[in-house]
Amino acid sequence: MQTVKIVVTGPFSAGKTEFIRTVSEIDVVSTERKITAEAEKVKQTTTVAMDFGRITVDDDLVLYLFGTPGQKRFDFMWEILSEGMLGFIVVVDSNRPETFREARSILQTFKAYAPTPYVVAANKQDSPDAWDIEDMRVALRLDSHVKILPCVALEKEKVKTVLLELLFTIQSEMESGKA
């Protein structure tokens, strides 16, 4: 049985766990703890080590989705999780520009770990306060060739699109011979 891995990363409360949950065939194995710090009370629980989801492709191939913890104090996990990944997805909350700086930092960190393809998922685009995709591109200082995709982590079709665009990016890089 062959396995491949995609890492889903991004700032705290961006929607990483939900993203994986929406497409995983297993209940997402999520190492969670209740949030204790008042400053982080935007949600009840948080991922402390990683989320783990699975999509069985066929009898010989399984795709694992690994979600990184968003809180900075768990960033020691990022390098471990990024080893051997096919690519990564940076999920960003489109309603919280205060997290864009952290998103930039995560992006730079992952790019330094491995030269693998990535896409950015602008999550919570169904919210009226969501930033426009192209404004987010500027705020996140994304190069024009980097895909930033509208996403709603609870909607399967939107999550599928993000995953597919990452795979298309990888295929395109292979076709252009950058090996």
Binding site: Q2, T3, V4, V23, I55, T56, V57, D58, L61, L63, E83, G84, M85, L86, G87, R101, E102, R104, S105, Q108, T109, K111, A112, A114, P115, T116, P117, Y118, R141, D143, H145, K156, K160, L163, L164, L167, F168, T169, I170, Q171, E173, M174, K178, A179
Partner: protein, 271 residues
């Protein structure tokens, strides 16, 4: 017993705070990538500070502060080599070239500047020897540490922000494709121009820092400014944004890798 450690674990600001609160007397020696420095305290106040690779003689400091002219400085360098700072200071005061106030203000300003530059050192070995004091031939000052500590704390916050923006110095820089930007019309400092002259996908930020003799914090400050202005962007060294490597796949065979991707795409579509 000497207090010793690494600035990575115990910052300059924290050291100053310790010295201030405990009203310590002693000598702090620091070895970092930028060289080495000595800072001397008396009863919790700054008495003296010097970088090993800098001329911290009284004549040099007075010249830098424009209290003596270049020709006077050269004369003193040639003729007064064997004089201690104290002897030289008395001589200059008695000859009417400078006042005691001039000397103390200049020394104070220089020592404070040394400590301020040390705030940019985020890595380095330090050792504090209690009761080791200033050599007799040097002139001591008395500077309260509170303001320096506040400034150090401010720089720490700035450092954390800069680390967030530029987490890795092993990345490279390239100029952005902005046709309307003409670097000639941009007002950059000397330091920024020096960094700009090294911007090249082949040079990591770390290499640029070494070439321009900037500390980790200083290079991050400069690069942050250039990033904010949209003049440069951070890329992987060599300029290749992504690479397809065999580590990404469970098989090294390129055809099998392509087949695997096709199967993944089909499966995701079918979800």
């Amino acid at each position: 017993m000497a207090l010793k450690g690494n600035l990575r674990d115990f910052t300059i600001t924290q050291l100053l705070n310790l010295v201030n609160l405990a009203k310590k007397t002693g000598t702090l020696e620091i070895q970092g990538s930028g060289g080495s420095a000595t800072v001397i305290f008396r009863e919790g106040k700054l008495a003296y500070a010097q970088f090993a690779n800098e001329d911290a003689s009284l004549s040099s400091i007075l010249h830098r502060n424009k209290k003596i002219t270049r020709s006077q400085f050269q004369l003193l360098t040639n003729r007064a080599q064997n004089m201690t700072d104290k002897e030289l200071g008395l001589l200059l005061i008695n000859a009417g070239y400078v006042s005691q106030e001039d000397i103390l203000t200049s020394l104070q300003s220089y020592f404070i500047n040394v400590v301020q530059r040390l705030f940019t050192w985020v890595e380095g070995f330090f050792q504090f020897e209690q009761n080791m004091t200033l050599p007799e031939d040097k002139i001591a000052v008395k500077v309260d540490l509170e303001n320096l500590i506040i400034e150090g704390a401010r720089q720490m916050r700035e450092w954390e922000l800069l680390q967030d923006e530029i987490p890795s110095l092993e990345m490279a820089l390239k100029f952005t494709d902005r046709p309307e930007t003409n670097l000639r019309n941009v007002n950059l400092s000397v330091e920024e121009w020096r960094v700009v002259s090294f911007v090249n996908p082949k040079n990591t930020i770390n290499q640029i820092a070494k070439a321009t003799n900037l500390s980790d914090m200083e290079i991050r400050k400069v690069v942050y400014g250039l990033l904010q202005a949209g003049l440069v962007e951070i890329i992987r060294p060599g300029g290749t944004p992504v690479r397809i490597t065999n580590q990404m796949f469970p098989t090294p065979n390129r055809d099998e890798q392509k087949n695997l991707l096709t199967r993944l795409v089909d499966r995701i579509r079918a979800l």
